[in-house]
Structure formats: structure tokens, C-alpha cells
Amino acid sequence: MEKTGAEILVECLEREGVDLLFGIPGGVNLPFFDKLYDSKIRVILTRHEQGATHMADGYARATGKVGVCTATSGPGATNLITGLATAHMDSIPIVAITGRVRSDSIGSDAFQEADATGCTRPVTKHNYLVKDVKILAQVVREAFHVARSGRPGPVHIDVPVDIQRAKTEFVYPEKIHIRSYSPTIKGHPLQIKKAAELIRESERPLLYVGGGTILSGASPEVRKLAEKANIPVATTLMANGALPYDHPLYLGPLGMHGKYATNTAMQKCDLMISCGARFDDRVTGKLSAFSPNSKKIHFDIDPANIGKSVRVDVPVVGDLKTVLKELVEEIPSQNHEKWIRQIQEWEQQHPFSYKQNEKDDFVKPQYVIQELHRITKGEAIVTTGVGQHQMWAMQWYPCRFPRHFLTSGGLGTMGYGFPSAIGAKLAFPDKQVVCIDGDGSFQMTMSEMATAIHEKVKVIVIVINNYYLGMVRQWQELFYQQRFSASCLTVEGGRRSKENEPDPRKLKYIPDFVKFADAYGALGMRITRKEEVVPALEKALESKSPVILDVIIHPEEKVFPMVPAGAGLDDLIVDMA
């Protein structure tokens, strides 16, 4: 049957099982939007294209399915860049569809023309400019396949407006084959044997579990391996929830703001088993001092990750879930009681901790998150912005399930939290979805409150409000002689120092987040005292409409422990005291 490009786009999306699409229309994607009008795909009109990408991303992280977003040409397309880069760094499957100016005016500086594929090339796994309607169905098919297979990632399809209108005979390509693309799924049997041998010989093994575990759906296999060979498990920021937080072999997070015991175990282990982790500098610290005496096994689906920053003894390329299934068969039951007891001792020396109310009677951010964890049993979907609050969320909201902690790890994108929470909530309307945000991060995408209200998406935003770009302030305090250059978010702003700091009790906060909530028809509550925390959380969880909890904390609050940038994991600062 003859179909237009726009009809083909919509039909291909439907056949891929797309139920939600996030985006904003404009001149050159109007044919596409017109066909969406008759489709059963739910279109979520966002307030900014960045919001659309993060919503698609949040949807993808929470479900494991491909998230889809769309924008017009020029400014619409360039507004996608941050979200695509965020997804690219964390290997999240997204398909972004943009309209492009008419084929015959490409390159003429036409109205709202930008070289969109040129812009997205470095921040996507792959991209397409469709110059012929005959290949459109094939391209959409390929795009979804590329996005979700191998090491997943975002894919961009740019479709000129005349191609959306052009007609062709529509044949759905049932099969796809890309001759230049076939990710390795099965691990090499010999390499798996070698890995098993190292595990058998090890006395102090450690599982170093990263975001790839979540992406591969390999949590059950990691757990089996850990239990059978009695191996403690450390997670990166991206792998929060890979093992239930109360599992006896779970140690907690690694890295710059990770646990003392976990980082020490990393330094002292004799065998590191890296599962879908990529030796990010926020985990390793100074490379030359990173886990110096361990043999290293590295499981990764991306061969380019192997040996990129750390030399490993046994690399195994393949899908983690597939590989671990085979590995578990190769290893005997083991017991590492002595090693585990040693780690427990380290844990007792320096657990995550905070002192209540050392400074006036300000609410402690850790306490708020701890209470949220208690009330929701660690089972809510939590998203974050980037900064101190993100690290507190990692430390105090260890998840029970995978795909429940959505955070921008690789790119560190402020503004990710709120829209990704909306995406996740749309995927799981019956779950509690809570965005633990910073006052700075929230302001980057808070215009999406309109989307949340409009679409009746109930998410809770807990703004950890220190009226500062807190993580910037923390670095300025520790490494820049307390010269708070452009990090204060109050009216006083500008150049602050310890001496001319505004009094937090007499401040004029900008904006007033409670009034902001009110303006949109959301529920806003301000929390300034400890006793208010639990009742407010309970009220928020019961609310039917979106909620903003504006939690006023003291700006001097810092994230500890901390490995200063460039230092080794042994140089962990446990506390300032």
C-alpha cells in the first residue's frame, strides 16, 4: 500500500511497540505530528526539548525499553543535544526523531536550519539523515535495533519535511541485517574458563558492579555468582539496586563519595571482577594507585572499554547476563569468611554517618533521604540532579531493585532528575517516583512542572535547598580558599566568602519553590525543622498531584567521605573533624 513518510514513521513506531512519545512540534515535523493525531501512541507535550530527551531517557532506564522523543529542526534539534549526550554517556537506548528543512533547501541557511546530524554525531551511537522515503522504514527499524542492542545508546533520525510528505509503497522490513554491525553476545569459552580459574584461586575477591549490569538485566546472575562463590559486591553510582541493599554480600557504593569499607576492599582485594563497569575516574581515583595488587577480570560488551584506562588480566567481551550464566557453571562453591569479616571491620570503623543538628537546628539532608528510604522501604524509583544531593541520594537511598535509581552518571547533567522522574512515572504509574534534586539542578528543567500537571503525572520533587550550587561550593571551600565565586543562588549572589555569607535564617530564597508549586497547581511544602520531615513525606506520598518539598538545609553541609579529584582511593577523607 502507498503511504506517506509521516504515516510510515508512525506505523513503524507502533510496530516497535512505542506507547509514549515525548516532544514538541514545529514547522518541519508537522506532517509527523498530524499523523500522530490519529495514532494510539500517547504524545507527551514537553515544555523544552531537553525535557523530552530526559523523559525518554527516564522511561528507558526504568523499563529497559527504547525511549522515543521528537523535535523540529534548528533550535528544536539543538535543544536535544544535552539529553542525547546524557544518554550516550550512560548507554541508554533512545530514538530521537527530528524534522529537517526541505531536502532541496538543505545547506542554504533556510529558516530554522541547523546541521542536526552534524550536531548529534558525536553524542549518539549512530544517526541518519533520510534523503529518500523508500528507505525510511528500513532506517527506523535499524535505529531501534542499534539503540537497544550491543552497548545500547541514543540514535537520531533526521527526516526532511518533504520526505515526510512523499509517498511510497510501504513494505515493513520484518528482518534487519546490518553487515557492519554485529555485537558480540556470547563470551569466549576459553576466557570464561580463565576467569573461573582466577576466581577459584582468589582469597580476597571483589565484584565491581557497574551500570552494564543493570542494562544487561544481569542482576540475578551477579547475585548467583556472588552467593555461590561467596564474593562481596561493590557497586558504582550507576549500579545502585543491582543487588538488594540489604543483601548480606552487598557492601555499598564505590568511588569519590563511596564507602570507606568498599573503597578499602577495592584497594586490598586480590581479584577484581568488573561486571559492566568502565573504570570511570570518579570510581578509580588516581589510576596508578587503583587496586594495585589485584588481578583483574573485565566483563564488558564493548571491546573498546577493555584496556582503555586499566590493564586487565582476563577480558571477556560479551553480554554480561549471557557470560555470567556460563561462568557460574564453571565455579565451585566457595567461602571467603575471613575476607568478609575483615571488610565488616572496616565498615564498623567508618560507616556512612552524619551528626544530627551540629549547626543550629537545620534539617540534615541525609536524614530526609534516610526517612524517605525507611518509609518507602527502598522500593521507590529515585531520580536525581547532579551535585551534593545526588551523592547523598546514592549514599542514603540504596535501592532494593535494579532500574530504580536514575541518575546522570557519565555526563553529570544538572536538570536530569525532574524530567526523568516524569518519564519513569509515566512508565510505572503505580510506583512512587521521587526526584531528589538540588535547588540549582531543579531550576534547569523545572518548567516541566507544566508537563507533569498537564499529563497528571504525580512525581515528588524533594529540593535539597542549600541556596548554593552546593558541590561547587564544597570544592571552593576545600580547594579554593573559601572564595565562593558565583556559586550562591540568593539575591546576594556574586562573590561570597565565609565572612560575608548571608544568614541562612534571614534569606530571601529565589525562587520561592512553594509559591512556584502553587502557581502550577502542584502541592508545595517547606521544611525547615526535623519534626516536619516525616509528616511532610507522608503527605507527599499520599498526594494525588505533583509535590515539591522545599527542604531548607545549611549551606556548609558537605558530602563525606571524599576522595579529592586526582588522589588515590587510599587518600579518602572520611570527615573534616
Binding site: 558525536p122 551511537k125 584496556g307
Partner: protein, 170 residues
């Protein structure tokens, strides 16, 4: 492995889909990851759907490993061959415009002869020399021509092929 300025230099050929934007993908990969390209040559192959790029790149072992892995990761890259351990031919073609009046020509002719190059254009006070060869040969000729005064030079970049029966095809 040829040593130049201390860092190993590899000649890599890749077969890529003959599609719009592939050259930009390869070039932007190099700039994004900070790899140093010495030369890059692109052309068609015996199969019209496939183009061949030959890239000369410098870097230590780890950098080169990354270069190859990252190239292989590009969806449009079909096959890759690093010639570092393969007996192979390398050829570069250069057009060199040299200042030369009547008095210089006989000496120039001798040099051109020795290098099995060709004079392909002559004017009152300049000639264009065409030379094909590996990099060493071309560099040597350039050194010889320097004293005459090189006015302009244009090179194709290196292309390579394995000796004997070994082929880089689909």
C-alpha cells in the same frame, strides 16, 4: 613499525559503507578522541557500495588499540586492517611545483630521473613534478628539491595494500 618523532606510526585501511556522512564520522572520531592523523585518503573500491579509507596515525600501543577499537565501533565501518605486521606496499602521490628557469632544468631532470618521477608541466620559470612512492622516497625528493625553491605542493595521502594473496575485501 616505522619510528617517526619517537612515536610508532601505523597505516590502517578500513572498508566503510559508501554512504553520506561516513568521512565526517571517521574524521570527527579522531578529533573527539584527540588521535593524531598524519594522512587520510578516501576512494572507491571494486564494490560500489564500499569505500576504502587509509589512515596513517601516530601514537603509542594503547592509543592505537583505542583507535582501532573505536573505528570498529562505528556502525558504518565494515572491516579494518592494520598493516603494521603485514608486508605491504604504501604509495603516496605528490605534485610539486618548483622554481626553475632554463638553467636549472637539466639538473632537475637528473634528480627527477633518479627518483623515477616525472615532469608534467613546464613554464618559463617553474615546473611541476609528479612523484609516486612511499613516504621515505617522497620526503627524500622534497629535500632534494628544496634548494630550487618549492612553490606549491599537493599530496594525496598514503594508500596501502598487502603484498601477495592477502586481501582486504568483504
Amino acid at each position: 613499525m616505522k619510528e617517526k618523532m619517537g612515536e610508532p606510526r601505523h597505516t590502517i585501511s578500513i572498508l566503510v559503507e559508501n554512504k553520506f556522512g561516513v568521512l565526517a564520522r571517521v574524521a570527527s572520531l579522531f578529533s573527539a578522541r584527540g588521535f593524531n592523523i598524519d594522512s587520510l585518503a578516501v576512494g572507491e573500491t571494486e564494490d560500489p557500495t564500499v569505500s576504502r579509507m587509509t589512515i596513517v596515525v601516530k601514537g603509542d600501543e594503547r592509543v592505537l588499540e583505542q583507535v582501532e577499537k573505536q573505528l570498529n565501533k562505528l556502525i558504518d565501518v565494515i572491516k579494518l586492517c592494520d598493516y603494521v605486521e603485514t608486508p605491504h606496499l604504501e604509495r603516496d602521490l605528490a605534485l610539486i611545483k618548483v622554481k626553475a628557469d632554463k638553467n636549472d632544468r637539466s639538473e632537475l631532470l637528473q634528480i627527477v630521473d633518479i627518483f623515477r618521477a616525472k615532469i608534467v608541466d613546464v613554464s618559463d620559470n617553474s615546473v611541476i613534478i609528479e612523484v609516486t612512492g612511499d613516504e621515505d622516497k617522497i620526503e627524500a625528493l622534497i629535500r632534494m628539491l628544496a634548494s630550487f625553491g618549492i612553490q606549491e605542493m599537493s599530496r594525496t595521502g598514503i594508500v596501502a595494500m598487502a603484498r601477495g594473496g592477502k586481501t582486504l575485501t568483504l
